[in-house]
């Protein structure tokens, strides 16, 4: 278990069907696009059962449904079960081969084609924790690992943002993108256009060679602007806030919508009052859960607002952190982190690098709560 390097920050409890028991899911820090593992824990008859659920997406995994191998092992890495998935359906099972003559300690697997195609997104818990308590209800419990719905990672609809990024990695990637000619050109164009007191947006994409491209500018109103989400390879969009206001709840909800629509579209840059802030969806599954749990509160003709529960927590913090653009952004970032929203807020520093806005709350001896920034190493 020590060699697994669990990412406890990514720990989640996911629902199972036909039971109110929750499955504990812990991703591993070493996860990548080729191999993506999760430790699964489930309490069965007062005993905690564990397994490692690993997916190996196929290279040619361009369909919307997952294709690849799924291997279930115990915490020592010994094979337990496995299956192959093609476009979302289980097409074969892996079983351990009897290989007593083998000189080497390797595991040979036999692949058995299953005539009846089963949907892979509904993983039966009896398959994950086999041989456990015959007669239990495990056969009736299914887990819907949403990262089997298409892709190699952590819960997206499309591949590129399937694997959750940590906020510091997101800041690094965003900093690199922000040093491109297209980013600078888009930023300059928007700042120039913003003299009219309206919002303007430019989408950035990547061509087949990985070069950053720039879509034509969209013009909007005083408090909103349409974003071009169909630009080839779209991964980010810049827009301005002419009234010098900080990034808003509407910007956050829109960022998640854009990422749901297109898996590569993870980043929103906001140009306001001479500063640049960033919103990066670093964990789409968590972001989807956040917006589903806390949907925007919006009156006709108004911009979206956080629902009461989130709004009040945010304003509590604004009063403590200050109502400047920086204070308000830090307050939003803190609340988003507190609720594991899978959304990272960034601010560009004077050298052009983006820094993630992470804050630690400390209660002083007199009861006052203070907030200090946590820098990336």
């Amino acid at each position: 278990m020590n060699n697994l390097f669990p990412d406890f920050n990514g720990l989640k409890q996911e629902k199972l069907t036909n039971t109110d028991q929750l499955l504990t899911v812990i991703p591993l820090l070493k996860n990548n696009k080729q191999e993506n593992s999760r430790i699964l824990l489930l309490k069965i008859h007062n005993k905690i059962r564990s397994a490692i659920f690993t997916i190996y997406p196929e290279k040619d995994n361009s369909g919307s449904e997952f294709s690849g191998r799924v291997i279930i092992s115990n915490l020592n890495g010994e094979f337990v079960n496995g299956f192959r998935v093609d476009n979302g359906y289980i097409i074969s099972n892996f079983t351990k081969k009897n290989n007593n003559n083998s000189t080497y300690k390797t595991i040979d697997l036999e692949e058995v084609i299953i005539p009846v195609r089963l949907k892979a997104s509904k993983a039966n818990t009896a398959f994950i924790f086999p041989g456990d308590s015959p007669g239990s209800s495990l056969d009736d419990y299914t887990w819907n690992p949403d990262y089997l719905n298409g892709g190699g990672g952590n819960g997206g609809d499309t591949k590129p943002n399937d694997i959750a990024k940590d906020p510091c990695s997101a800041a690094k990637t965003t900093s690199v993108d922000a040093k491109s000619i297209s980013y600078s050109s888009a930023k300059t164009s928007i700042i120039k256009a913003s003299n009219d007191g309206l919002e303007h947006s430019i989408t950035l994409g990547k061509d087949n060679n990985g070069q950053i491209t720039q879509a034509p500018m969209n013009d909007g109103g005083a408090y909103n602007v349409p974003v071009n989400s169909t630009w080839p390879g779209a991964f980010a969009a810049l827009h301005n806030h002419p009234n010098k206001t900080p990034l808003s709840a509407g910007d956050i909800y829109t960022s998640v919508k854009l990422n749901i629509k297109s898996g590569t579209f993870t980043t929103t840059y906001i140009l306001t009052d001479g500063e640049v802030y960033g919103i990066v969806v670093t964990d789409l599954a968590a972001a989807k859960e956040f917006v589903a749990t806390y949907p925007a509160d919006q009156l006709p003709g108004q911009s979206p607002e956080f629902p009461d529960y989130i709004l009040d927590q945010m304003l509590d913090l604004v009063n403590k952190m200050g109502s400047s653009n920086e204070g308000r952004t830090t307050a939003i970032a803190f609340v988003l982190d507190k609720h594991n929203s899978g959304i990272t807020l960034l601010k560009q520093d004077s050298s052009g690098n983006f820094q993630s806005i992470k804050t630690q709350e400390t209660t002083q001896a007199n009861g006052t709560k203070t907030y200090t920034s946590i820098p990336c190493n």
Binding site: A222, L299, S303, S323
Partner: protein, 156 residues
């Protein structure tokens, strides 16, 4: 029999007495009116803040000052959000208490008043160290903004 004229000093005295009585009555009426107006304030304590939401329609499309005059407990802090949607967040505990999450549940209630117009509220331009303190001048400055929505959020 000829009537003797009433001495002038007596006339003046009678008039003065009448004026004094009128003044007394006037003062009493003003006092009673003032008292009765205050008694009619919708929010007597922080427990009553929810009444503003219950009677929201009474304040919609009316100036903010109409709503503020219905609140007896002192508003200790206000944060103006001059972004769309535009609103003020009012609190009834001092900032020092807010920083410690102190105060009774009732006093820690939040009142959000959404406004039709954007308004000039800049944290950085407010008096240093008292940025969030709600003053009489603020009530006057922002009193004519139009209320479009009220939210009351408790600390449950």
């Amino acid at each position: 029999m000829a009537l003797k004229p009433i001495p002038q000093y007596l006339v003046i005295n009678t008039k003065t007495k009448n004026m004094k009585n009128t003044l007394k009555i006037f003062v009493m009426m003003v006092f009673l009116m003032n008292y009765s107006c205050k008694a009619q304030q919708m929010v007597q304590t922080t427990k009553d803040v929810y009444a503003l939401k219950t009677n929201e329609q009474q304040f919609i499309n009316k100036p903010l000052k109409d709503l503020l005059k219905e609140i007896k407990p002192e508003i200790k802090t206000a944060t103006g959000i001059n972004d769309n949607p535009f609103f003020f967040s009012f609190r009834f505990t001092p900032l020092e208490q807010q920083k410690k999450d102190e105060g009774s549940k009732e006093d820690r209630i939040s009142l959000y008043v959404y406004l039709k117009e954007s308004f000039d509220w800049h944290y950085e331009k407010r008096p240093k160290g008292k940025e969030l303190v709600w003053t009489k001048e603020d009530a006057e400055k922002y009193g004519n903004l139009t209320v479009i929505r009220i939210k009351v959020i408790g600390k449950d």
